[in-house]
């Protein structure tokens, strides 16, 4: 079980290894530094093998294991204002010894190897080199070997039950169809409702998400994460719909900053972590053109 308090405690324990000054610096780096976010993701993932039995669900992405629930947590700007809650059993000294001074490529390799070791029996050194060279050609094989040897030396897998096997829901395609229909219904409703800039924000963001869903070819676990994230966004839109109560003037004067911020975070995730589509803000993003 993990709580925000545990996350705050963890971040405080690894402050030096993560290289940030204070809460303000942490927020700034989360907002602007992709490598920093990647490091937080890998640190939390690896920490599981040093006694922090957290419940963040991870899936394997282009840059290694990634948890959207964790991302949602660290994007909260006030996160470090929460009180830290000690993590029972977490060996912070050994953890810091393991990660301190390590490069992003090393952390990416180590976490990916751990991910495979958790799901495949007898994942050998040559399997690690072969698999990582295939999916991560940007990482030198020497780094992969070092990471593999360090993991073997620490004997993480003496207790194999540390890793939870993710149950895959084979009804995802139905869920996706239902969600797509909901999204498209809201796109139609909000496209002209209120005839104001908010109409463009709500219908435009939903239309983008609809395109993403139509184009995704993710594996089941990643798809599940994406559907969860988008369902959550659609719930926020439903709240707006309920609040307006069919009154266009109420809608016109609503402040939708928090919805837009959430949409921006989803776009970052879709673009940087899933690689499905560029963000609307990116100049390379092509206008979809006319219907």
């Amino acid at each position: 079980m993990s709580t925000i308090g545990h996350f705050v405690y963890f971040i405080t324990c690894v402050k030096d290894s993560l290289s940030f000054r204070d809460a303000e610096d942490f927020t700034e780096k989360i907002r602007n530094d992709f490598d920093f976010r990647l490091k937080v993701q890998k640190f939390v993932y690896i920490a599981k093998y040093f006694g922090w039995k957290h419940s963040y669900k991870y899936s394997l992405y282009i840059r290694g294991p990634y948890s959207s629930t964790l991302a949602d947590e660290y994007y909260n700007e006030d996160i470090l204002k929460y009180s830290p809650l000690e993590i029972d059993g977490f060996d912070s000294i050994s953890f810091n010894d393991f990660v301190d001074g390590k490069t992003i490529h090393y952390l990416e390799s180590a976490s990916t190897i751990l991910y495979y070791m958790g799901s495949e029996k007898n994942f050998t050194r040559s399997d690690a080199i072969e698999k990582l060279q295939m999916i991560k050609p940007h990482i030198d094989s020497e780094i992969v070997c070092n990471a593999y040897d360090d993991i073997i030396r620490l004997n993480f897998f003496r207790n194999n039950n540390l890793y939870e096997i993710i149950v895959i829901d084979d009804n995802l395609d139905n869920e996706k169809e239902i969600l797509l229909k909901q999204i498209n219904d809201y796109v139609d409703y909000f496209a002209d409702f209120g005839q104001c800039n908010n109409s463009i924000i709500v219908s435009g963001s939903l239309d983008y998400l609809s395109m993403v869903l139509e184009n995704e070819t993710l594996d089941l676990q990643m798809k599940k994460d994406l559907l969860e994230l988008l369902s959550n966004y659609v719930l926020d839109v439903k709240k707006i719909y309920d609040l307006c109560d069919d009154n266009p003037k109420v809608f016109e004067y609503m402040n939708l900053n928090s919805l837009e911020n959430k949409f921006n975070r989803i776009q970052d995730y879709i673009s940087q972590e899933l690689g499905i589509s560029l963000r609307l803000y990116d100049s390379e993003f092509e206008f979809a053109g006319c219907d």
Binding site: C196, I200, D207, Y208, M211, D291
Partner: protein, 193 residues
Amino acid sequence: MIRLENETQVIYDANVIIYSLFPEKYKIPLLTALAKDLNNFLFNQESTIMVPHFIICEIERKGYYKVIDDYFKDLRPSSRFQLMIKLRHNFENLKKHENFSQEYYQPCEKLLESIDNAFIDFNNLDNIDEYFMRKHTDVLNPSIEDKKLILFSKDKECPIISNDLDLTFFHEELLKRNLVHQIIDFKSINLNS
């Protein structure tokens, strides 16, 4: 053709600003080019573009929607959003220009009443049917922003540049009643020397 060489400051209506914000790829034929040229012309001769706060609010609440809906009806919603993001970005840059001035202005009720009364009288103008026909309406109902803009022009003794028929059509009548300083029809501006 209206010329602007002697104007040290002018007031912009919402649409004139928005036209100038469109990117090259999605420019509105004639209007975007004219609005951009007008900005450059005024900034080069160091004239100030004044915009009252209620016009800024109008742009940020519904202005983008109106213009995008008028000229880019066929764009799908995500592209409209992308276009609006670009317009907002360009507006933030325009606001930073040293000769772009945002002003707070709130007229008193009595002055607003005088504008209301004038527009009630305009229903009896001989050429009011021409207005109805051009505007595709049967009622004369200018927005609160239009009324405040007229009073702002009078207060600042400065011309409004607008392409809103609710203002331009009644220019002479408003002048006769001493309710406005000047209203310049955006499309009638000639910047050629």
